[in-house]
Each structure stands twice: as structure tokens, then as C-alpha cells.
Amino acid sequence: MNNFSYVKVGSVSEARALREGNDHARYLAGGTNLIDLMKYKLESAGTLIDIHHIDENRTISSTEQGGLWLGAFVSNADTAYHPLVEQRYPLLSRAILAGASPQIRNMATNGGNLLQRTRCYYFYDASSPCNKREPGSGCPAIQGYNRNMAILGTSRHCIAVFPSDMCVALAALDATVVTQGPYGERRIPFHDFHRLPGETPEIDNNLQIGEIIVGIELPPEGFPEYHSYLKLRDRNSFAFALVSVATGLTLDNGVIAVARIALGGVAHKPWRIAEAEQFLVGKEPTREAFAGAADIILAGAVGYGFNTFKIELAKRAIIRNGMMALNPASQRPGAQPSLEP
């Protein structure tokens, strides 16, 4: 780690002003990702602008439109355990609590969670090539150990996965990311926030340089009645998802009125396919119906060897989580699979 200056700021405008024109400055929120990256010499900073203590918009509160505002600097833990989130958006609460560990969730912020970087093994090893870290150097994952890599939306330059759990729920909930940037406030629909690797795997999302996330807005529909988050991973806690699914449903007379299905652990962004959700509308929520939706979602899936099992696993997870959503009480801590059929 190099020497850097550290500045604690009290407002968004102060933070922005310090960042302006200073290419070597980074925002520091909870630091649970950024500090690690600096220790692994994947990131370096001349100035760390500590935004963790900014009080502006640091709330979780109802919006005029009937939705919910999640301040960017609020911790993941405070968000997950907030009564409004627990009651109205339990899917989000469960997804957050399926991630990391209590200690990390206490430090991690909502803004930082959106910007955490991939957990690709080769990305983390500064002595191996990686297009995301060093554009043009190559992607050793494609023919290497790719068990935790993507099966959807990959490119020949990168097959990395965006590792967040929280964002899978935010995608399913149709959240909007609210930012302050060089051109003032922006409202970015969640599906436009993260990017696919394409030709530029070094760019994870559509945030502009220096732009700061101030909050996340949720629309009124939170699927409090029928929802489930299922996370499949190599141990029951404190491991990133190999496949995760966030499902939210509303039912009308026993048939599906609204369906949301977002996948985590399978792509460079939370994965949603509108066509599959449309397919479910008007159908009874059965294993067959969810299987049909799964086939649509996974239509273009490609395996790279070690991760090929994820295609079948994702299908089964979509089906199972659809059924789990009908009985949220069947869900267990850590987003483990239900114990009832």
C-alpha cells in the first residue's frame, strides 16, 4: 500500500469537489472492498475521500410516490434490519443478509455494494493476465478454473460475475439508482446501471468518473406476500453465490399477476429477462410454469467447463425458488433451500 492522503468529508458537494479533476482520488465508504483491493495492489489512491459519514440523505424513508428511499451511506446491516424494509421489501432484507458476514455488513454501505468488484480469481492475482485489470492482457478464466464464472452475457474478453446479493434483489424490485455527477442529479434504472463485459470488461457499470451515488429508490411494489431469495454456494454462510435467485410474485385469484425473477452469480450483472416474467403472467405458480420461465431465462447460457453445471443448477434454483416464494415462511437464514417440498 502506498502513502495516501485521507480526507473525511461532511457533504456530497464537498466530496465531489475534491474528486473533480483528481484522477487519483477514490471515494471510501465502508472500505470492505476498496481497502482489500489496495492491499492486493489492484487499486491505488492518492487521496481517499471518506464519504462514510455524510449525513445528507442518510435515511431510509418512504417516498412521495409510495416507494422507499435507501440512503447510499447507510450500512447494509441497518438497511436489512430496518422495519420498513423488513415489512415492505423482505426480499431485499433476505438478500442482504445472505451476503458476507455480520461484521462486513455492519461496515459495508448501500452505495459501495453496487460498486464492489468481481471475485474472479485471476482478477485478484496481480501477477496473472486479466482483461478487466489490464485491458488487452487476456482472460485466463475462459480456459482456466472458471467454476465461479458467468454463463450468461459473457464476452470473449471476460466471463466474470458481479458478486453482489443485494443487487439481485434490487434488480428484481426495479430499483432506481440516484446519483450526483458533473451534470447534476441522474436517475439510473437498475438494469441500466451495471454493464456486460463486451469489448470493455474494465468498465463494470455506467457511473461516470467522479459521480457519486446518493441513494437508491424503490418503487411501491415490494412483494411482501410472495417472495424468496435462494443462494447456492460452497458453504452455508460467508461465501459468494454460485447461483442465486430473487423471486417476487403477486397473485390474483391463484394466478400470477406480476412476476420478477433475477439471477445472481451467473453474469456480469444481475440477470433479468422480461420475456420470462411475461410468460408467467396469467399462469398458476407451478413447478412447470417456473420451468418454462427458467428455459427462457437460460436460453443463451454457455458453460466454460468447470461452471457448466450452473446452467442446470440455475434452472432448478429458479423452479425451487418460485415455489419457495409462495410460502415465504419456508425460507431459512442465509437463504438456504427450504426444508419442505
Partner: protein, 745 residues
């Protein structure tokens, strides 16, 4: 007042408070004035030559003192023997910084020394190294044709090669009515104790060093440093009272010790070197091993043929071996046996003993093949083991000094509820999960080594015993205090055990589950010698009621020496000290196992592991929902610390069977997951109901204490029991560890 014996009591660790409050100092914690910090640079190629180290790039950075590499190191001995530590396998020991050759990925090739750790690490990131890379091979599976028998050396005495084949295996197997066979794959594992390897070397002037080292052998580290740097061994003192886990990784001096000592001698300053977590993946490890088994029995379940072959990885410079294939015939008295054990030298660092080395590998293959044989014969797996039970070790034709394995089976099965099992695979369910019951046997050798101990009656009449041995977190301090207390009939708070210091009486490295037996025996002996000296003095006290007493006539109880025949008369220890002009009395003894007595017996600790798993077959998720391990390990000195050892072994079993692996990328010859986020060991949510039973076992032969050691046995039987339970649940026999859910979907 009579004192109740401490041995057999569940006494909490005496150092527990220091550990949980942070008062305990580990090797990297000792504050030293004016100390420098080293950060080691590791090779990023797997094989080749270092052409140049651009030290000039970083020497100007503020706070950087020097860069040490093969280009400017102190002169080093060329003789390999000088580098050989107590646990060195046959071969040529790796000599750090010796020349410009890179022999394995992550090889330590240089060290930055700076005023702060952060500065040293920063400079290390910026140190450019030019290499000339060469072809290498690291993949065991693809190099099986290079397998060859291991070299024999000093270490072989503790790790016997496979016994000679017996009978006619080929014919017996061919004609066996019931057969089972399997191929078993085990990958690399790294010890990963939570305490990082660190050495704080205090330069005392005049080439004299005091070293706080993370190690399982203070004397081992002491001699290693003295031999390499040509110092008198008395000028090197190694201290290591607290060790934050080691699991075998501290059996050999690790490279931070070499670097810290060299830097201190070069700069004549105190130096600390602490490895980081990724560097913890650059030295010894459990070697990948591929095994084949072929077992045959009669239709009645009597085993007649045992075939077991193993091929394991080693480095290009040392022949590290494990006892993998010797166990089957120690347990099952078949007459036709074929075993074979070979090594493939690869461009990796030498493997290193890791908890239950070889045993946990070999017994997985053996006990899962036995399970399959039982199924194929249509016999309950537990019944099958009763049918093939033996009180002698037929592999060497000797009786066991004691073997209460049957009692382990009986009590374990009862506690677990084995009788509730329905025999057919896939026949038990709970909710949406398949349920499986599995069991397996565990075995580990009961070893005792020579060691010295000292016992002192100090001037205040307190008993102080000492040994250079470490306490790697197993409870050595507590247990040794208990043993000494009972020898003198004292409450444990009147006894002190001093340890973890190379100045103290010679102890071997702390491994092989032999510490309690080895150091405990030495302490017993030293205490006896001290009692003799004390009695001799006591007899000379004027009017002493003990004037004609021998040791057999007296009892040491609560600070008094009393006549057994007349317990109301005696002499107090304080009187004896007074008679000795207020000076302490000391005795030192060397305890050596009696080879003639021991040679007539096989000596082993046994266990029976019972496991319940639930498998969510749709998603491939497995949970070990319940497990019982019953252990026959002779005298249990402290049921609490012993239980913790077994529990740790059981949790590690879950890790081994279902979680843990160091993942190699053979294109680069390196590991891709060298951190604890991606090297998965179990978390609390993985651990459910675990139960430990110690069955009564009396053994007059193993050693004077009748103890057998419980460090490794918890990790021998349970991994195969998990695999067997998964088979019972799903009908799938998965022989590669760890079992991931994709193989169960």
C-alpha cells in the same frame, strides 16, 4: 486433607483468559525497540532463473533500509545437512536465497527491510524481478508415469513404508465372491492456522539472538538458525509460549524465520517478518494423492483380499512421504494383501504433515471401499466390521497393546441410533431431503518419543516442571500441570509448567499426537527423581519420622510427605527446603520409550465415526446434521481439552469431505484461491450436532501414563463416514474430496 487427582478432570485451559482477552503474545506481537520489518517477495514464475532483481528501484523509497536477495545475502553453507531440520524428509532441503534458481511458484526470493511493515510491503510491490522461465510440471494426474518409490532416510523410521505383500492378492481378489474397488482423488490442502507465521528476532549484540517464533518446535528452530548461520546453539534462544494453531505447518522452520534471522545478523538490528495470508499458501501442504483400492470378501463378509495403491505428489528436492496404504491390514485380518506407495516429483514446494497426514487420506479410501464391500455383500456396514474384527495387527503379526474399538462401535452406535437406519440407499427421507447414515473406523498410531523434563521444588515449596515443548493450542500447559500435580498430590494452582523455550529441557517437535505421552512420561520420571531427592533430604531432618522410609513407604500429599503406614506423621516440603538451607531442589530426567517392551505390540488409538447427512437432491446441497465419534485413546488426562481435540477433528472432517481445497491452475503452476474468502473451511452454519465419546481403555504398555494421543484421530474416521452417509442417502459413491453439490444434483 487429601487432594483429589487432577488427571481425568475436565479442567479449563489455564491460559484461557490470556488468550480471550488478547493478553497472550504471539510471535509477531512482541514489541521491540528500534525494530525493522521485513516483507518477503515471492517468485511469480514456477520454474527458471532470476536474471536480475531491480533493488535500486526501491532502495530510494523513504524508510527502506535494504533489499536482501541471493545477490547480496550473507554467505551460506552449501552443505544440505546444515539446513536439515528435525522433520526434513529424505532429499536436499530447500535453501532459501542460495542461488538464482526458482523451483516452485511463490518461492521466497528476496526481502525488503524497512522501518515499517507497510513501507516494506509497498516497496515489495514495486520490486521488479527479471526471470528466465522454464518448462515445469505440477499436475499429479498428468504425470503418473513418473511415479517411483520414495527414497529412504532418517524420517522413514517414523513413517514406515508399506509392508511386504502377503499371500496371493491377485488370485484371491479374482476369485473373491464379493468385490469392491474405487479410485480416490484428494487435492492439495493448506494448514491455514489463524495465526500467521511470524518471527521476531531480537538482536542482543555479538551475534546473539532471541527469537519469538511461530513453531511447533523451539529446539528445531534454534538448531536450524544456529546451523545455517554458524552460531553457537547457546547464542540462539527460541521462545514460543503461545501458538495460534499450526496443524503441522510449524513442524518445520518456515522461511520467515530464515529471512528474519539473516536480516538481523546482516544489519545487526532486531527484525520482524510476518507472512501474509497468501504467503501461507507458499510452503508445505497436504499433497494431492490418487489411490486405487480393490477389496474382496466371501459371501459371509469375511475379507480375503486387500489391494491398495497410492501415488502422491512431492517436490523435486525432497521425498515427503505419508503412511497411506499401511492401515487396511492393521484393521482387517485378510491373508492376501497388496499395497504400494509411490511419489511423483513435481515443481512444487515439499508437502508437509497436516493433521492426520496419510491417515485421513488412506482411511477414506479404505473405509469407503469397506462400506461398498458391505453393501455388495448385503451386510450392515457395522456388522461387517464386527465380522472382520481383530485383536492383533496381522500386518506385522503382533497383538495390540490395547484395542477397545468394539466398545467404540457399541457405544457410538447406541448414542447415534444406528439401528434406526433402513439398509437400502435412498430409503430414508425427511421433508424434501434424502437422509443417509454412514459410519467408518478410525485408526492412528500411538507414538511416544524420547524427551527430557525438569522438576524443581522451589524455595517456597512450589513445584515447577519444565520442557522446551510448545503448546499449539491443544492444552499442553494444562495437561502437563495436571500430570505433575498428581505426582506430588498438589492442587494444580500450586504447580507451574514452564514451556515453549529452547533453553528448557530438550523436547521433540510437537506433532504425531505424541506430546502428552512423550512429555507427560518425562515429567512423571523427573517428578519421581525429584521425590527421591526430596525424600533423601527429608530423612536427614533431625527426628524425621521418615528416616528409614523409601519412596514406596511414603505419599506426597498436599505439601506433605507422609508415611503410608501412619498418615498422621510426616514432613512438609517446606521443612525439606529449610533443611536444604532454603535452596530449591531440582531433578532432570530423560525419558526413553522401552523398545524391547514396545516391540512386542502394535500400538494404536481407534475410533468409530457415525454420521447423518441430509441431501437436497434437487439442488445438490448436503448438510452433516448429526455426528458421533467414539474414541479409544487410553487414559484421557483432561476430558475437556481432549473433547475439543476430537470436535476440532470432526469439524475438519466436514471441511475435508465437503469444503476445503487449494485449487491449482496447472497452466501457471500456481494456486488460484490463496485467501480465506475462497479457501472454504466450515462456518458455524455448517456445524450441527456433534457428540464425542471416550470409551474406557486401559493400557499398561504404551507408556507410564497409559495415554495414546487424541490430536489426529478425530480427522481419520469421519471423512469416509460422511462419504458413506452420502452414498446411503443418494446411492451415489463419490470418491473425490471435497464433494461439491454439482456431483450430487
Amino acid at each position: 486433607m487429601a487432594i483429589h487427582p487432577s488427571v481425568g478432570k475436565p479442567i479449563s485451559r489455564l491460559e484461557a483468559k490470556e488468550k480471550v482477552t488478547g493478553a497472550a503474545r504471539y510471535a509477531g506481537d512482541y514489541p521491540v525497540d528500534g525494530m525493522l520489518y521485513g516483507y518477503i517477495v515471492n517468485a511469480t514464475i514456477t520454474k527458471g532463473k532470476i536474471l536480475h532483481i531491480h533493488a535500486d528501484d526501491v532502495l530510494n523509497l523513504p524508510g527502506v533500509v535494504t533489499v536482501i536477495s541471493h545477490e547480496n545475502r550473507l554467505s551460506l553453507p552449501w552443505l544440505d545437512l546444515k539446513y536439515a531440520d528435525m522433520d526434513a524428509p529424505p532429499g536436499k532441503v530447500f535453501k532459501p536465497l542460495y542461488d538464482n534458481e526458482v523451483k516452485f511458484n511463490g518461492q521466497p526470493i528476496a526481502m525488503i527491510v524497512a522501518e515499517t511493515f507497510e513501507m516494506a510491503r509497498y516497496a515489495a510491490f514495486h520490486l521488479r524481478v527479471d526471470y528466465q522461465a522454464e518448462e515445469f510440471r505440477t499436475n499429479l494426474g498428468e504425470n503418473m508415469e513418473s511415479a517411483r518409490p520414495p527414497k529412504v532416510g532418517l524420517a522413514t523410521s517414523l513413517k514406515p513404508p508399506p509392508p511386504k505383500d502377503r499371500g496371493d492378492f491377485v488370485t484371491a481378489f479374482e476369485h473373491a465372491a464379493i468385490k469392491a474397488s474405487g479410485t480416490f482423488h484428494h487435492g492439495t490442502e493448506h494448514h491455514n492456522p489463524i495465526e500467521l507465521f511470524a518471527s521476531t528476532v531480537v538482536y542482543e549484540g555479538d551475534n546473539t539472538l532471541t527469537i519469538y517464533d511461530k513453531t511447533q518446535g523451539t529446539v528445531n528452530s534454534q538448531l536450524y538458525v544456529a546451523n545455517i548461520f554458524g552460531l553457537h546453539y547457546k547464542d540462539v534462544r527460541v521462545i514460543s509460549p503461545y501458538v495460534g494453531g499450526a496443524f503441522g505447518s510449524g513442524l518445520r522452520p518456515q522461511y520467515q524465520l530464515f529471512f528474519a534471522a539473516m536480516a538481523a545478523l546482516m544489519l545487526k538490528r532486531s527484525v520482524r517478518v510476518t507472512l501474509d495470508r497468501s504467503q501461507m499458501f507458499t510452503f508445505g501442504h497436504r499433497p494431492p494423492t490418487i489411490q486405487n483400492t480393490m477389496f474382496g470378501s466371501t459371501t459371509d463378509g469375511l475379507i480375503i483380499a486387500l489391494g491398495h495403491e497410492a501415488v502422491a505428489e512431492t517436490s523435486q528436492f525432497e521425498d515427503y512421504t505419508e503412511v497411506v496404504v499401511n492401515w487396511s491390514n492393521m484393521l482387517y485380518p485378510a491373508q492376501n494383501v497388496h499395497t504400494d506407495y509411490k511419489l511423483v516429483p513435481l515443481d512444487v514446494y515439499s508437502p508437509l504433515d497436516m493433521r492426520a497426514p496419510g491417515g485421513s487420506t488412506g482411511m477414506h479410501a479404505i473405509e469407503s471401499t469397506i462400506d461398498e464391500l458391505a453393501y455388495n455383500a448385503g451386510i450392515d456396514p457395522l456388522e461387517f466390521r464386527y465380522i472382520n474384527y481383530a485383536n492383533t495387527d496381522v500386518s506385522v503379526g503382533r497383538p495390540y497393546s490395547s484395542k477397545e474399538l468394539k466398545e467404540c462401535f457399541a457405544q457410538g452406535a447406541e448414542r447415534f441410533g444406528w439401528h434406526k437406519r433402513s439398509p437400502a440407499p435412498r430409503s430414508m427421507r425427511r421433508g424434501n431431503r434424502l437422509v443417509g447414515y454412514g459410519m467408518a473406523t478410525g485408526i492412528w498410531e500411538a507414538m511416544t518419543a524420547p524427551a527430557r523434563a525438569k522438576a524443581i521444588l522451589d524455595k517456597d515449596g512450589r513445584l515447577v516442571v519444565s520442557s522446551a515443548i510448545t503448546d499449539i493450542g491443544t492444552g499442553t500447559l494444562t495437561v502437563m500441570t495436571q500430570i505433575a500435580a498428581d505426582e506430588f498430590g498438589l492442587p494444580i494452582d500450586e504447580v507451574s509448567f514452564h514451556y515453549g523455550d529452547s533453553k528448557m529441557p530438550l523436547a521433540p517437535i510437537q506433532g504425531a499426537s505424541w506430546t502428552v505421552s512423550t512429555i507427560g512420561s518425562a515429567i512423571k520420571l523427573a517428578c519421581k527423581a525429584l521425590k527421591e531427592k526430596i525424600l533423601k533430604k527429608a530423612r536427614t531432618i533431625e527426628g524425621s519420622p521418615l528416616s528409614h522410609a523409601t519412596l514406596d513407604d511414603v505419599a506426597f500429599v498436599n505439601g506433605q510427605i507422609t508415611l503410608i503406614a501412619n498418615p498422621s506423621t510426616g514432613v512438609s516440603l517446606k521443612d525439606v527446603i529449610q533443611k536444604n538451607q532454603g535452596r530449591s531442589i531440582a531433578a532432570t530426567k530423560l525419558s526413553v520409550p522401552n523398545p524391547l517392551k514396545l516391540k512386542k505390540y502394535s500400538r494404536a488409538v481407534h475410533s468409530a465415526a457415525f454420521v447423518e447427512v441430509e441431501v437436497d437432491e434437487e439442488l445438490g446441497v448436503v448438510n452433516v446434521t448429526r455426528a458421533v465419534t467414539a474414541v479409544a485413546a487410553g487414559t484421557i488426562i483432561n476430558p475437556k481439552t481432549a473433547r475439543s481435540q476430537i470436535l476440532g477433528g470432526m469439524i475438519w472432517s466436514i471441511s475435508k469431505a465437503l469444503r476445503e481445497e487449494t485449487i491449482p491452475d496447472h497452466r501457471y503452476g500456481k494456486y488460484v484461491n490463496p485467501n480465506l474468502a475462497e479457501y472454504h473451511i466450515p462456518v458455524h452454519a455448517d456445524i450441527h450436532d456433534l457428540d464425542v465419546i471416550f470409551v474406557d481403555e486401559k493400557d499398561d504398555i504404551v507408556n507410564p501414563l497409559g495415554t495414546k494421543g487424541v490430536g489426529e484421530i478425530g480427522l481419520v474416521g469421519m471423512p469416509p463416514a460422511i462419504a458413506n452417509a452420502i452414498f446411503h442417502a443418494t446411492g451415489k459413491r463419490i470418491n473425490s474430496f471435497p464433494i461439491h453439490f454439482e456431483s450430487l444434483m
